[in-house]
Amino acid sequence: MTLSADLKKQILQNIDRVGTKGAEYTDARFYTNDDSETLFLYDGNLEANDTNFESGLGVRVLYGGAWGFAATSDAKAFDTCFEQALQNAITASKLVRVPLHMGKKPAHTGKFASPLKQDPFTVPLKEKLEFLSAIDARLKEDWIFKRYVYAEFQKKNIYFFNSEGTQVERSLSNVFAKMMVMALDSDGQMQRRSQDLFTTGKGTRGYEMLTQPELFSAHAERIKDELAQLIKADILEYGKRSVILLPGQGFLQVHETIGHPLELDRILGYELSYAGGSFVDLDSFGKLRYGSDKLTVSAFGSIENSPGSFGFDDEGTPERDYLLIDKGMLVNALSSRAMIDEANQKAGRTVFTESGGAARATAFYRAPIDRMTNVNILPGNDGTLEDIIASTEDGIVLDNPVSWSIGSNREHFHFSCEIAWEVKNGKKTRILRNPSYQGHTVEFYNSLSAVGDASTWHVGQVDNCGKGEPNQIMQLGHGIPVVRFDNVITGERK
C-alpha cells in the first residue's frame, strides 16, 4: 500500500501548522498498514488462525522542552490528532526541569525494505498450514505429551515525516517461528525442548527463510531426541562451575544484561517507574570494565537479515553500526537524538557524538523510545563448541531459556534453562535437567573465558521484548557465538 498524495499533503501542512504555533520539532508516522498473521498448531489442532490489520497516524510534538504525542486510527481525525499532540506538548511543558532537545539535523530522504523474496502474506494460507502441519507430524510421538509449532508473519509500511524536512519510507517484514515438545519426567514434572527460527545474518527474510530446513524444520528430530534423554536425566546439583551458553541461551543473557542496561533512556532514569534503571551511569562510559577483554559487543552490526535491521529508526536516523563494548571496556549506549543531547548536557562533556539510531516505536499509536537494534557479541578466537568443551574442566553447556528474572538495575540475574549437558575434564558426559544459574552482571562478564569462532555464531530473533509506558513490544536480533563463563553459581541451593 502507498500513501496518497492528498494524505501526504495533509500531513506536511499539519507539520507546518504546528511549527507556526511554536513547536520546536514535530514528526509524524503514518502506517498505511501494519499487518500480522499468527498460525499456532497445538497438538495438531489449529488453535490460532488469526490476522490483525492496523493503520493510522502517530504525531509527536516537542514544545517548550517537552513531548506531546497523539494517535488515531480514524482517518478523518488527522487534523485533530496534530492539534491534540500539540496541546499535549504544551501541557507537558508546564512541568519541565530538564528540557529535552532534538539537536539539529539536515533534511534527508530515505527508503528501506527488509530483504525478501516471497512476501508471506502472498503465500496461500493452505500452503502455510501444510508446511506447519508437516513439522507437527514429525514432532508427534506417543510418549510426547504436548507439542506445538507456530509461525508469525509481520509486515508494516511506514511513512515518516518531520519538521526538518526529512522523509523516510519503510517496508518492514518479519517471520518468527517456534516449535516445542513436552513430556513428563521421572518425577511427573514437565520437561521441554524447543527451537526458534533463527538466521545466519545473511540472506532474505521472507517466507523462504521459514522453509529453509537448517534454520528451522531440520531441528525437529534433534529436540525430540534430546527430550527423550532429558526426561530420564538427573537433576543438576547446586554448585559453582563453568557455564557454556549456546546461542539459544546466550542471546537472552545478552539481551537482559547488556542490551537493556545500555539503553540510554534507562540510564538517564526515564524508565525507573516501570522497566527499571541501570547500574551503568554516564561516568561508566570509557571507564567501566564491563567484561573480560574477550567481550566485544556491537549495536546493529550491519546484519542484513534480522528483525533488528530496519534501515532507519522512528526518528528517521539511519541505523548505525558501532561498538557498545570494546574488548571489555564500555564505550557506547543504545540511543536516540533527545537522549544523547540530554546525556551530554548532564555529563558536561560529549559522551555520545551522535544518535545510535535506536529510537523505535512498536506501532503508530506509540511514541519512539530507546530500544535495542541488534546487540551482538562478536565472534572470538576460541574455536568451535567442541574446542571450548575440550578446554573446560568442570562445567555445563546450557540451551534455551525457561525463565529469566533480572534485578531492577540489571545488576543481577537468575535464569533457568531447558537443558544442560555436563562437561567433565573436557568431555560432554550426561544430560541434566532443571538447570539454572545466577550471577551479578559485571562479575559475570568479567569471568568470560572463551568466545567461539564464527562457526558458532548465529542470529537469535526476539519477537517480544517489552518496555516503556505505554508498553511497547519490539522485535530485534542478537548475533551470538558460543560463550563460556567461569565460577558461576548453578542449580538451586537445597
Binding site: N45, L46, E47, N49, T51, N52, F53, S55, G56, A66, W67, G68, F69, A70, A71, T72, S73, D74, A85, N88, T91, L95, V96, R97, V98, L100, K126, L129, K146, M182, L184, G188, Q189, M190, G269, Y270, L272, S273, Y274, G276, G277, Y365, A367, S403, W404, S405, G407, S408, N409, E411, H412, H414, S416, S436, Q438, H440, E469, P470, E492, R493
Partner: protein
C-alpha cells in the same frame, strides 16, 4: 443495548450473517487512553490515543478463523469485509480433533457502574499539576519519575447464536511515582489506583513519601546473606506472586496439560495453608469488574481456594472445548482475584513487634517461574524494602532475590492483614483492558528463601 451507530451496524451484519448460517462473534473494543510519564522531575511524555478494534471470530464445523481490524466502524461494508476475512480463514483452516464451542451471549448486560466521566475527561494539566505539587512538597533535590495512565474502555459484543448484546463502559487509572536519591540511589514508590478520579489524592502520596524518607535518609543499606527469613510481602508483591500462582495452578489449561504446580492434585486437595482463601469476585469494587467474559458467559463469584483447599479451575472457551469442561467465565478479559483479609492489625510494624527480625518486601521486580511444575518462582525486591526488628524499622535492604515455591510461602503464612487494598495489575501492551486484584495490605510468612542479594539498592 445498542448505544450508537457502530453497534447498529454490527447488529445488522450479525443478523445477516446468522441468516446465512455463519457462526460468528463480533467484539468492538473502543478505548480513550491518556498517559503522562515523568522523568527527571519533568513530564517526559504526554500521550493520547483513541483506538477502535473490531474482532471477529468464525467457527465453521471444526474449523476456526479470526480477524481483527483497527479503525472506526462507519459502514456495514466495513464490518462485512472484516467478517469475510475471518470466514475465508475458517474455510481453509485444518479441522480440530474436537468441536469448538460457539460464543453465546448468556444474558444481556449493560453495565457502567465503574464509569467516571471526570476520570475519562481529566485534563492532562491536572496530572502535571499533581506531579508538580509532589515534587515541590517532597523536595526538588530528589529525582522523580512516574507514570499516570487513565482512560475508558467500551466493550460491545454480539454473536450469531442469539440477538442478545453485552455492553461494558468503565474508566480506570493507574498512578505511580518513584523517588530516587541522586547519590545514594535508593528508590521509593507511591501508587494509586481506582476507577474514579477521586481515588487519587495528592496529599496521600506526599505523606507516604514523608513517612518513608527518614528511614532511608538516616540509615545505611543492609545486605542480606542467602538463607531463610521471616518475610512480610506487601499487597503489590503479594498480588504479583498470587496471580502467578493462579495462572500456573488454577487455570484449566495449565492444569489439564500438567504444566503447573497443582497438576498432581485434584479439587478438594489442600494445596496451600489453611489460612489462604482466594476467590474471583467480579463484584468486588476494589477490582475492575466485568459482568461477562469474551465468550459471552456471565461472570459470577468463583471460589478458587477455600481454607487452603483447591475448589475450582478457571476455563476459557478453547480449553473447555478441548477437554470437555463447562465454561466458567474466564475467556479473555480480566479476573477479579480477591485474597480474603485476615485478622492482623493493619499496621505492619505493630503486628510484627513480637516477631523479631522481619524483612518487608512491598513490591517484587521481574517475577518469573523458574520451575512451574514445582511452583518455584523467583523475583527481586524493589521500592521501599526494609529490615524490621521488634516492630521497628532498622533500615533499607539492598536488592534481594526470593526464589521459593508457592506451597512453601503460602503454607507458612503467620499473619494476614485485616485490611484489603486494591492492586492495579493492568498493562498497556496492546489494547486497554484494566485488571486489579484485592489483596490484604500484607502477609507475613516464615522460612522464605532469600537466594541472592546485590551490593546496591
Amino acid at each position: 443495548m445498542q448505544k450508537n451507530k457502530a453497534h447498529e451496524i454490527i447488529c445488522a451484519v450479525r443478523a445477516a450473517a446468522a441468516k446465512r448460517g455463519i457462526d460468528a462473534t463480533f467484539t468492538l473494543h473502543c478505548e480513550k487512553s491518556h498517559l503522562m510519564r515523568i522523568g527527571n522531575n519533568s513530564v517526559s511524555l504526554n500521550t493520547s490515543e483513541i483506538l477502535t478494534r473490531l474482532d471477529i471470530g468464525v467457527i465453521n464445523g471444526r474449523r476456526t478463523g479470526s480477524h481483527t481490524q483497527m479503525g472506526d466502524v462507519t459502514s456495514q461494508e466495513y464490518v462485512e469485509k472484516a467478517l469475510q476475512i475471518a470466514v475465508d480463514k475458517a474455510e481453509v483452516a485444518s479441522e480440530k480433533d474436537y468441536q469448538p464451542i460457539s460464543a453465546i451471549i448468556e444474558a444481556a448486560v449493560d453495565e457502567n457502574s465503574q464509569y467516571d466521566k471526570a476520570l475519562e475527561q481529566v485534563d492532562p494539566s491536572f496530572k502535571a499539576d499533581a506531579y508538580r505539587q509532589i515534587i515541590e512538597k517532597v523536595g526538588e533535590s530528589y529525582n522523580f519519575s512516574g507514570s499516570w495512565s487513565s482512560g475508558s474502555v467500551e466493550l460491545f459484543m454480539v454473536s450469531t447464536a442469539n440477538d442478545l448484546t453485552v455492553y461494558h463502559l468503565a474508566t480506570d487509572q493507574d498512578f505511580n511515582v518513584v523517588l530516587k536519591h541522586p547519590k545514594k540511589k535508593w528508590e521509593l514508590r507511591q501508587a494509586k489506583t481506582g476507577w474514579r478520579l477521586a481515588d487519587f489524592n495528592v496529599n496521600d502520596v506526599v505523606d507516604g513519601f514523608k513517612k518513608l524518607l527518614p528511614v532511608y535518609e538516616n540509615h545505611q543499606g543492609f545486605k542480606l546473606e542467602p538463607g531463610e527469613y521471616t518475610v512480610a510481602l506487601g499487597s503489590s508483591a503479594l498480588a504479583e506472586v498470587l496471580m502467578m500462582a493462579c495462572y500456573t495452578g488454577f487455570y484449566g489449561r495449565t492444569y489439564e496439560e500438567k504444566q503447573g504446580w497443582t497438576s498432581k492434585n485434584k479439587k478438594g486437595d489442600k494445596v496451600l495453608g489453611s489460612n489462604i482463601n482466594l476467590i474471583d469476585d467480579p463484584t468486588d469494587d476494589k477490582t475492575f469488574t466485568f459482568g461477562f467474559d469474551l465468550a459471552g458467559k456471565t461472570r459470577a463469584l468463583f471460589p478458587l481456594v477455600k481454607d487452603g483447599v483447591m475448589q475450582n479451575m478457571m476455563y476459557d472457551i478453547h480449553t473447555a472445548a478441548k477437554y470437555g469442561r463447562e465454561l466458567t467465565g474466564h475467556t479473555g478479559g480480566s479476573t477479579s482475584i480477591v485474597m480474603q483479609p485476615g485478622s492482623a492489625l493493619p499496621d505492619l510494624l505493630a503486628a510484627v513487634k513480637d516477631m523479631g527480625r522481619v524483612i518487608y518486601i512491598p513490591a517484587l521486580h521481574y517475577l518469573n517461574m523458574s520451575n512451574p511444575s514445582q511452583g518455584v518462582f523467583t523475583g527481586s525486591s524493589r521500592f521501599n524494602a526494609v529490615l524490621i526488628e521488634d516492630g521497628k524499622v532498622v533500615g533499607p535492604i539492598f536488592s534481594s532475590r526470593i526464589t521459593d515455591s508457592f506451597q512453601n510461602v503460602f503454607g507458612n503464612v503467620r499473619l494476614i492483614s485485616s485490611e484489603a487494598e486494591s492492586v492495579n495489575l493492568s498493562n498497556t501492551y496492546g489494547r486497554r483492558m484494566p485488571e486489579a486484584s484485592s489483596m490484604p495490605g500484607y502477609v507475613v510468612a516464615e522460612k522464605v528463601k532469600i537466594t541472592d542479594s546485590a551490593d546496591s539498592f
